[in-house]
Every structure is written in structure tokens, then in C-alpha cells.
């Protein structure tokens, strides 16, 4: 009888949001197909072009005052100014907005109100020991 092959080490490892798969268990490390080599060559070309631009500016005899990093500027712009134009009310965003915006407010209203109502009831029944002088309520 033929058993199924045992689960691969990558499946046994189960990478998730907190840890990633080690390179030794990843089958992509051992993949030497021509597509992968061409992809790596293209990435290397992009990387070297960027590094050349950066090193030219860095070792310039009249260097500019600041070598600004367009990737950093884009990142900051995307996180701050590009959120409002690209936001769109959908069921998911409306639900999330209600949960995060109204949820805590209603929760604390409910908690504080019931707590104070219970305290008021105890004062009316005379059970609560109230000191005559108190700087807190």
C-alpha cells in the first residue's frame, strides 16, 4: 500500500505572521531555473543603477546639501497624504470605522453609567460609607 509522502519540512514549520520560513527550508532557494536567474539579473540591474546614482551623489566633489531618498519621500507621502484621496467608503471600512470610532465611546459610556448608577443606589440605601471631607468626588 502506498502511503502519502511525509509533509515537507516547510509545511511542518508553518511560518505565520510572526516568523518567516528559514531560507534552508524554502524550495525557492534551490530553484535554478532560467526564469529565476533572469529575474535575479533584472533585480540586480535595478539595484546597481540605484546604487550608482547614490554613490555618484555621495562622492561628488560639490555634494548637494542633502541626498534625498525618493523612496523615503514616497513612503512618507503614501502614509500621510495619499490615504484620504484613496479612501473609499465600503462595507468593510464603514464597519471598521464604527468599531474603532464608536465602539470605545459607547463602551465607556455604558461602563461609567452603570458604575455610577450602582453607587447612587448604594448611597440612597445608605450602604456607602462617605467621609465628610474628600477632595475626590
Amino acid at each position: 500500500m502506498a502511503w502519502a509522502p511525509p509533509p515537507s519540512a516547510a509545511k511542518l514549520y508553518r511560518p505565520n505572521r510572526f516568523v518567516s520560513l528559514p531560507a534552508e527550508l524554502d524550495p525557492a532557494t534551490y530553484d535554478t531555473s532560467p526564469e529565476k536567474l533572469r529575474a535575479e539579473a533584472e533585480r540586480l540591474a535595478i539595484r546597481s543603477r540605484l546604487k550608482r546614482q547614490y554613490l555618484l551623489q555621495l562622492n561628488d566633489p560639490n555634494p548637494p546639501a542633502i541626498i534625498e531618498n525618493p523612496a523615503l519621500i514616497r513612503w512618507a507621502y503614501a502614509k500621510s497624504q495619499n490615504v484620504y484621496p484613496t479612501f473609499r467608503p465600503t462595507p468593510k471600512t464603514s464597519f471598521l470605522g464604527a468599531v474603532y470610532g464608536l465602539g470605545p465611546l459607547l463602551f465607556w459610556i455604558f461602563v461609567l453609567k452603570t458604575d455610577r448608577d450602582r453607587k447612587e443606589k448604594r448611597i440612597q440605601e445608605g450602604k456607602l460609607k462617605r467621609s465628610p471631607l474628600s477632595v475626590f468626588f
Partner: protein, 157 residues
């Protein structure tokens, strides 16, 4: 800064030409470029990079910014400031995460259950009240030395 509007991030790319232009803008290959899904959450056309922290990058390569392990012009992860080396670290662990969490939660739950049971059903040897000498420390507790103290006998023969 003096970067033109088409160099800045924009809305979600819909046509393949927009995707190619966005990939070129972010200095990525067209095949590598994968924007966040268009949920209306405000990501726009920013690329979705793998969620790996800067700890996982090669420490021996000559990065342009060695402390950030980041090269000039390389697209930064959306959560870049979370994945720096002082903060979240997603490096692979020696023991898989599910094994670690299972061991930890088992240990914690067993210890808490045992402590709880010990609180509900305490068990110790039988004890009685402490017996003090010298008539229950009559003089030490401020008794009058001229008066005869009340006799306190703790034994029976």
C-alpha cells in the same frame, strides 16, 4: 520637495499600463510589483512587499544605510518603521512557532490551574495557636511587676 506629481504615490492602478508605470515609479520589476488589494482602506498603489523585518536582511552586505539595512531608492515596506531592528523581528526561530506557543500555553495553563486548585482546596499540617512562655509574656506586654500574673498553663501531665 521638487518631485513631480507622477513620481508620488497615487490611486490604485487599474490598467496594465498603469501597473507598469507604477512599478517603474517604485523601482521594481513589473512581475514583482503587487499593490495592496483595492479595499478602499487608503493604500493606493503602494506595493505590497513581503512582511519581513530588517533583521532578516544580510548583515554582511554593504547597505547604503547599514543600521536600517536599506538601500537608497529601494521601495520601503508600508510598516517599515515597525520592522526596523529595534522593534519587531520576524527572523525564523529555531523551534517552530506553533510548538513554542503550545509548550508555553500548556505550561501556563497547568500552573494556573494548579495554583487555583491550591487556593480552593488548601492543604497543610494541622496547626494550633502559638504558645508564649512566661504566662503569655505578661511582663513584656506591660503587665504590672508588683501584681501576681494570671497563671497560664499550656500543658497537661
Amino acid at each position: 520637495s521638487e518631485m513631480s506629481k507622477d513620481m508620488m504615490p497615487g490611486p490604485y492602478p487599474r490598467t496594465p499600463e498603469e501597473r507598469a508605470a507604477a512599478a517603474k515609479k517604485y523601482n521594481m520589476r513589473v512581475e514583482d510589483y503587487q499593490p495592496y488589494p483595492d479595499d478602499g482602506l487608503g493604500y493606493g498603489d503602494y506595493p505590497m512587499l513581503p512582511n519581513k523585518s530588517q533583521y532578516e536582511r544580510d548583515p554582511w552586505y554593504q547597505w547604503d544605510q547599514p543600521d536600517m539595512r536599506h538601500n537608497w531608492g529601494e521601495p520601503m515596506h508600508w510598516d517599515f518603521d515597525m520592522y526596523i531592528r529595534n522593534r519587531v523581528d520576524t527572523s525564523p526561530t529555531v523551534v517552530p512557532w506553533h510548538t513554542m506557543s503550545k509548550h508555553f500555553l500548556l505550561f501556563l495553563s497547568i500552573m494556573l490551574i494548579m495554583f487555583g486548585l491550591g487556593e480552593i482546596y488548601p492543604s497543610y499540617r494541622p496547626v494550633g495557636p502559638k504558645q508564649y512562655p512566661f504566662n503569655d509574656l505578661y511582663l513584656e506586654r506591660g503587665g504590672d511587676p508588683n501584681k501576681k500574673p494570671p497563671a497560664v498553663i499550656h500543658y497537661e501531665i
